[in-house]
């Protein structure tokens, strides 16, 4: 090939590559988060957008697809199951203090415009082909399932508490993609158990309800809430999730991707 032809081929290749860089390949199909709400008037959506921008966009992004610290609401199960704001209002009015989301004192009309905006964003996001800042199931397929199984049964120590045919049977049917990976790394909802021994020697056990430096609280065997001042009792806590936290400094990124590949076989 002559120099000219090589240059032409190269140039064409570059142009083609740039073209595809700007028009990304459509992500593999995944369960769509759809919205079971009738579309709202444009003016209501716009009001909701303005409200969202000033109050929510810092954490959740201007397009609700995630920002500093806040999750992508366009992929949120809560938003997709929301009907006319029934779920959304509760979260907005109460906040999520354990996750750092403040409460917002908004009127019914304001909340209505906000939910309209969010449902509209979810609709738009589900039809978008590119420019998304989320994580698709197809992104999380880089691991080796056999290496993952070896890690699960060996160095990871997972088999000490978990079983692929027991508690984890069907896990990949219950959770997919990012949600599966997040729960794999830190299953936040599992409750610690606590045993309190009082000065008189009485022992009470239950699930941990609250703990700070000064107060310990549990739900006892009868689901009754009970608390004590920390300095008046002896406390022992068994937190099953601690093993997950202990793994953080030990994982390589390959371990995580391999584990994901393995868990995704447990359907």
């Amino acid at each position: 090939m002559s120099k000219g032809t090589i240059s032409a081929v190269l140039l064409t290749a570059i142009v083609v590559a740039l073209h595809y860089a700007q028009k990304p390949v459509h992500a593999a199909a995944q369960p769509q988060q759809t919205s079971a709400n009738a579309p709202a008037a444009a003016s209501v959506i716009d009001s909701g957008g303005a409200l969202f921008y000033t109050n929510c966009a810092f954490c959740h992004g201007r397009d609700a697809a995630g920002g500093e610290t806040g999750p992508d609401l366009t992929r949120s199960k809560l938003v997709s199951e929301d009907k006319g704001g029934d779920n959304i209002s509760v979260v907005v009015r109460n906040g999520r203090p354990d996750k750092g989301m403040p409460a917002f004192n908004l009127s019914d009309a304001e909340l209505n415009s906000l939910q309209a905006f969010l449902h509209n964003r979810m609709l738009i996001a589900s039809t978008q082909k590119g420019g998304r800042r989320g994580v698709d199931v197809s992104d999380l397929q880089t691991g080796n399932k056999d290496a993952g199984m070896r890690y699960f049964q060996g160095a990871g120590g997972c088999a000490k508490c978990h079983s692929p045919t027991g508690d984890l049977a069907g896990i990949a049917t219950r959770y997919q993609g990012l949600r599966l990976e997040q729960r794999m790394l830190y299953p936040g909802r599992a409750r610690a158990t606590v045993t309190v021994t009082t000065a008189s020697g009485q022992t009470i056990s239950g699930t941990l309800a609250y703990r700070d430096e000064f107060t310990i609280a549990m739900r006892d065997a009868n689901e009754t809430y009970r608390s004590w001042p920390m300095d008046k009792v002896k406390v022992s806590i068994n937190d099953p999730i601690q093993a997950h936290v202990d793994l953080f400094p030990k994982y390589t990124d390959d371990d995580i991707h391999n584990l994901m590949a393995y868990l995704q076989t447990l359907r």
Partner: protein
């Protein structure tokens, strides 16, 4: 005779005018150089950023008797994130669009200014600057407003940055002589960060210093937002400020190199804005780790010799001690779990591991995006040589793929787990002398230390605690109902030492009974 009479009358009039001016709530810039104990004249308390008070009325021995003096209720649902100023018996503080003047003795409101409804990001407001009888307030939509301290009326309003481009502002302006220094925020667009010096009388721009090249420069970064109030050394006449992360945030392919001066600590001449030196806390950052934590000035000792130092417990997990004359590194160490650097280079700067940049399938990163430290002020206690920081050890996963583009956030990150730990770092060795675990979940509050050996801070559950600075033992606490999102201040008034904290929309003041007698 008439001329003498007129002159006398004129002289008397001038004298009484200036007397009434002295009785007014005024702050001469020289008062910020040597703050009296009956004041808190600037965001950090003084120019050093140590947030350390010489007051000793409240001691480890008597803090157990600390009680509520008064509260001020803003009746707002958003939390207070500001440190109040206290000047001449009046407290001035902010909450988003609200500026309050409150009697520091009684907690009663003197006046309340509300900035008009606007479309800026309402993420927080850290407080005010003061110059003579004027206050300076940065609005969510990046305006600088000057108010009359007497009654909250508006003197002037100037635009600092264009909020429609994606800028917003939250910080407390810093006043140095006849300069009002302000900075900006804005990570969702590819914008230049800058520090601006404004004339306190007219609002006119005196100079701008830009943290990054002009937007659109090829293969160059934008960003370097100047989020938090800096510090100042009057003997060196150097202004120290931290800059934020580069944009696009989570992807670095369009901005190769160290991305100066993002994620940096910079020293500027406050009269001209000229850069004297810069230190990069995170060269080529891809994790949103602003280096805007307080650059605390320490007059310390290194190898037996006195040194003028600057220390920062940075977002990215590193504790940096620099020579504040030259900007050269004295010590670099971590103060919690980090996994993203290959080591430290000859300049004392971390070397980012390319294998820990965000990828399509994710990378496990310590700390998380909100960082091992953040807006909550650390405190340096010169008596113990301890740098007290409310750290947040955490783990997270970071993703970025080509489809995310090269604009704004350009990726996604998710925190997995974190906990709150108060640490006392020995500034000379970087070693942690003591640490206190406050529990899993969010982070704690800012820290303020006093000469009597107390460190005031808040845990993630709303408890305000007084710790013994030397060993971290809790000596007193009070449940305030909402996690503190501010840093405490203290002052004395009428022979009484007050500690001021906030929780939710409420300002609390704490004192000893009977002035501690």
């Amino acid at each position: 005779m008439k001329l003498l009479q007129s002159t006398l009358i004129l002289a008397l009039a001038t004298f009484s005018l200036s007397s009434s001016r002295m009785a007014a709530q005024d702050l001469e810039p020289a008062q910020i150089l040597h703050p009296s104990t009956d004041s808190w004249p600037t965001y950090h308390g003084d120019y050093s950023g140590r947030r350390h008070s010489t007051l000793t009325q409240i001691t480890p021995g008597n803090v157990g008797n600390l009680g509520l003096s008064w509260v001020f209720q803003t009746n707002q649902t958003a939390p207070i994130k500001s440190s109040p100023l206290m000047v001449d018996g009046v407290l001035y503080f902010t909450l988003l669009e609200n500026v309050y003047a409150v009697d520091a003795r009684s907690g009663h409101q003197i006046w309340h200014y509300t900035y008009p409804p606007n479309k800026g990001f309402h993420i927080g407001q850290r407080g005010l600057g003061m110059y003579k009888g004027y206050l300076f307030y940065l609005s969510p939509d990046a305006h600088l407003v000057s108010l009359n301290a007497k009654d909250g009326s508006v003197r002037w309003n100037v635009i600092v940055a264009d909020y429609t481009k994606g800028y917003w502002t939250t910080e407390a302006p810093l006043v140095i002589r006849d300069h009002v220094l302000v900075g900006v925020s804005g990570d969702f667009d590819n914008l230049r960060g800058f520090i601006r010096s404004v004339d306190p009388e007219t609002g006119k721009t005196q100079w701008n210093w830009y943290a990054s090249p002009e937007a659109g420069t090829s293969n160059a970064t934008t960003g370097g937002m100047t989020w938090m109030t800096g510090t100042y050394d009057p003997d060196l006449n150097l202004l120290y400020w931290g800059t934020g992360n580069p944009t696009p945030v989570l992807t670095g392919s369009s901005r190769p190199g160290d991305n100066l001066y993002t994620c940096s600590i910079v020293a500027l001449n406050p009269d001209t804005g000229q850069l004297t030196w810069a230190f990069s806390a995170s060269p080529h950052d891809t994790h949103d780790w602003d280096a805007v934590e307080t650059p605390i000035l320490i007059d310390g000792t290194v190898n037996g010799a006195p040194r003028k130092l600057l220390a920062q417990a940075s977002r990215n997990g590193y504790f940096f001690v620099l020579d504040r004359i030259t900007g050269k590194s004295v010590l670099t160490t971590t103060f919690g779990p980090t996994n993203w650097a290959l080591g430290i280079d000859k300049q004392g700067q971390p070397i980012p591991n390319p294998a820990k940049e965000p990828t399509p399938d994710g990378r496990l990163i310590a700390p998380d995006e909100s960082g091992l430290n953040n807006y909550r002020s650390s405190s340096f206690d010169p008596k113990t040589g301890l740098f007290i920081v409310d750290s947040h050890p955490a783990w997270s996963i970071y993703f970025a793929k080509p489809e995310d583009g090269t604009y704004g956030w350009a990726g996604a990150d998710y925190g997995l787990w974190g906990k709150a730990v108060v640490e006392a770092i020995d500034y000379q060795t970087g070693k942690i002398r003591w640490s206190r675990e406050f529990g899993e979940g969010g982070a704690s509050a800012g820290v303020m230390t006093t000469d009597s050996g107390l460190a005031f801070t808040g845990d993630p559950f709303g408890n305000l605690v007084a710790l013994h600075t030397s060993d971290g033992k809790t000596l007193w606490h009070a449940g305030t109902g909402s996690p503190m999102q501010s840093s405490p201040i203290t002052y004395e008034l009428d022979g009484q030492q007050y500690v001021l904290t906030s929780s939710g929309g409420i300002l609390f003041s704490w004192t000893l009974p009977n002035n501690g007698q």
